[in-house]
């Protein structure tokens, strides 16, 4: 009965009034925004510290249940609660490190491994369902997506007993290498769970995972979690490849060539979009339902993809044929190669923008999407923090083209973000890196920040050191 009610609700959500989209997906590399752009009227922004002391914080999600609580994900396998007044509760909300008597359930040996993300069911307030995505130690680093149920008698803590009693494992995705997991999971405005899944790692996508439709790596996945408990999940019937692999009679004649392309034998129906390298963070605009994906690039270019709410999925974002609007390998700026699939809305370079050694000082090395801002004079502006340069960028459609606007540069190593219950963008930073990694509980602690207009910083608040040039 609950399921039926939810289905009706979700159907209604899906059929909601279409939203007008002025934004266009670039069809020409020259239309892809790069650093140096500007958003007219953009406010000065500041990062206000909400709480501190987190061990390798790599994810953050607001509870959105009216409590004002914020969940900060610690890579080691814990989720900490920050209360509405900024207090960090001493006991973790969720702890994956000690329910298994043989040790932690989370693989953290490499800095890209760990617990990455927590998502609250759209009806969390009624059903208490929370979902997590992490690298499993018992399953040799495989991606586990699991659901737990909060006991209403213990709203701030899922005890070990409750965790074991309520766990439902939805997915176990083997991982070939120890990097490029992706990480974020989030419910879309359609009530479906979206999963950012990296290409499985190494470099250069040796398995061609991005372009292959028969693997879950290198994708944005979309699943329906509202299934009976004995069924891990369902494939939404409107997924782009939901029926592409179904058994059928063969017809050779009377079919158009376009018709033949619909046969994607062996394709995985969970796929929503492909050609991604490492979509660690992606966010829906809560107002329009539009989607932004921050796809972490390889050696030279970071890309931010835009997908309107009207999308039916199936976009190919080009990896490993392209990095941003450039080639892979990216030898030089004037190198020619086909653009495969869909161009990003924006892109920014690394220190070394091409294999020819071109140096740039206006980008970073790893795009961490933080959330879509609709405040302080900003409209549908995707905030992106960079892990290497500490820059805070905004991606927005201005007039007739995309702009990549640098708000400021901080000293922070951004890892993740999300939008809080009031619509403000949150960010977390860590001191975790490939080198000098002391492990998920021994690295210097990171903090939780809220991005606000600089003229709205509360009196006495601690603000991240920043410069605007």
């Amino acid at each position: 009965m609950r399921r039926m009610a939810l289905a009706v609700f979700l159907t209604a959500a899906c059929l909601g009034a279409p939203v007008a989209h002025a934004q266009q997906i670039p069809t020409n590399p020259a239309d892809v925004a790069q650093p140096g752009g500007s958003i007219p009227g953009a406010p000065k922004l500041a990062l206000v510290k909400l709480a501190d002391g987190f061990r390798d914080p790599v994810g953050v999600t607001a509870f959105n249940d009216g409590s004002g609580r914020i969940a900060v994900v610690e890579r080691v396998g814990r989720v900490r609660i920050v209360t509405k007044d900024g207090k960090v509760l001493p006991d973790p909300f969720l702890d994956l490190t000690n329910f298994n008597p043989l040790g932690s359930d989370v693989q953290t040996g490499f800095v890209e491994q760990g617990l990455w993300s927590i998502a609250f069911h759209p009806k969390f307030k009624q059903n208490g369902y929370v979902f997590v995505h992490y690298a499993s130690l018992p399953f040799n680093g495989a991606s586990i997506i699991a659901r737990f149920t909060v006991d209403p008698q213990s709203p701030d803590r899922i005890t070990k007993e409750q965790l074991l009693k309520s766990v439902k494992v939805l997915m176990n995705i083997p991982q070939p290498y120890y990097n490029h997991y992706g990480g974020m999971i989030a419910f879309g405005p359609d009530g479906k769970l979206y999963i950012g899944k990296g290409d499985g790692g190494w470099e250069g996508d040796p398995l061609d995972a991005g372009q292959r439709l028969d693997v879950l790596w290198g994708k944005l996945l979309r699943i329906d979690v509202d299934t009976p408990d004995d069924r891990p999940y369902a494939v939404p019937s409107d997924n782009p490849f939901a029926k592409a692999d179904q058994a059928q009679l063969m017809s050779l004649f009377g079919i158009t060539e376009q018709g033949f392309t619909k046969n994607k034998i062996g394709s995985r129906p969970e796929i929503w979009a492909y050609g991604l390298r490492n979509p660690y963070m992606f966010h829906f605009d809560q107002k329009s339902g539009d989607l932004f994906i921050a796809d972490v690039g390889q050696n030279h270019w970071e890309e931010i993809n835009y997908q309107p709410a009207s999308s039916h999925g199936g976009e190919n974002y080009g990896w490993k044929f392209n990095q941003g609007s450039y080639c892979h390998p990216a030898n030089s700026a004037d190198q020619k190669c086909p653009i495969v699939g869909v161009l990003p809305a924006a892109e920014y370079p690394h220190e070394t923008a091409f294999e020819d050694g071109t140096k740039r000082n206006d980008g970073g090395c790893s795009a961490q999407g933080l959330g879509v801002a609709n405040y302080g004079g900003l409209t549908k502006t995707y905030l992106v923090g960079d892990w290497c340069s500490g820059r805070l960028f905004g991606v927005a459609w201005v007039g007739n083209k995309w702009q990549l606007h640098q708000f400021l540069q901080t000293q922070l190593q951004f890892t993740a973000g999300n939008v809080d219950a009031d619509g403000y963008v949150l960010a977390v930073n860590c001191y975790c890196f490939y080198t000098a990694d002391k492990g998920p509980t021994a690295n210097p602690v990171g903090a939780l920040w809220r991005v606000v207009p600089a003229d709205s910083v509360p009196a006495g608040a601690e603000v991240a050191k920043a410069k605007t040039n």
Binding site: E351, K359, C365, C388, S389, Y431, T435, N443, K465, K467
Partner: protein, 154 residues
């Protein structure tokens, strides 16, 4: 040519022929003990269990890195560099994820002097170039790393 010698036009000629301790006034070097992010002066505190070596003490007061040209210190600096720095700046110091540490086009002008580079390693700059003091590295090791980095600048 050592890059630390070329940053002040008035001293360029002298820099071509004279060692750093002679041609650059100590107060000039000491002015590079600053935060690369905003130029504010830096204070350097030893960590628990860290003792200030004679080389560090001298460096703080004169800006002169005694490990330059010291084969043992450079060898130790090389090992530390490969463990902590090479992933971003490259084995050759010419930059990969992070900026180049050699040549004249440095991200931070202050990195051309040893106190300036020391300040960046100690206090961090932006994003992934975090404070190595916060990560637990001792100042004596920072001096050794810098001594090695200068050997890459050929």
């Amino acid at each position: 040519m050592r890059p630390g010698l070329v940053r002040r036009a008035a001293l360029v000629v002298a820099a071509l022929v004279l060692p750093i301790g002679i041609c650059v006034k100590a107060e000039d070097l000491l002015s590079d003990f600053k935060d690369p992010f905003d130029g504010s002066p830096l204070k350097f505190s030893p960590q628990p269990g860290e003792t200030e070596t004679p080389a560090v003490k001298k460096f703080k007061t004169t800006g002169v890195n005694d490990y330059r040209g010291n084969a043992d210190a450079i060898a130790a600096g090389k090992a530390l560099y490969q463990e902590n720095c090479a992933a971003c700046h490259g084995e050759d110091g010419k930059g990969r994820i992070g900026p180049t540490l050699v040549g004249n086009e440095l991200r931070y002008e202050q990195a051309k002097s040893d106190p300036g580079m020391f300040s960046i390693v100690y206090a961090g700059a932006s994003g992934a170039m975090q404070s190595f003091a916060r990560r637990g590295m001792h100042q004596d090791d920072m001096l050794k790393i810098i001594a090695y980095v200068r050997t890459l600048d050929k």
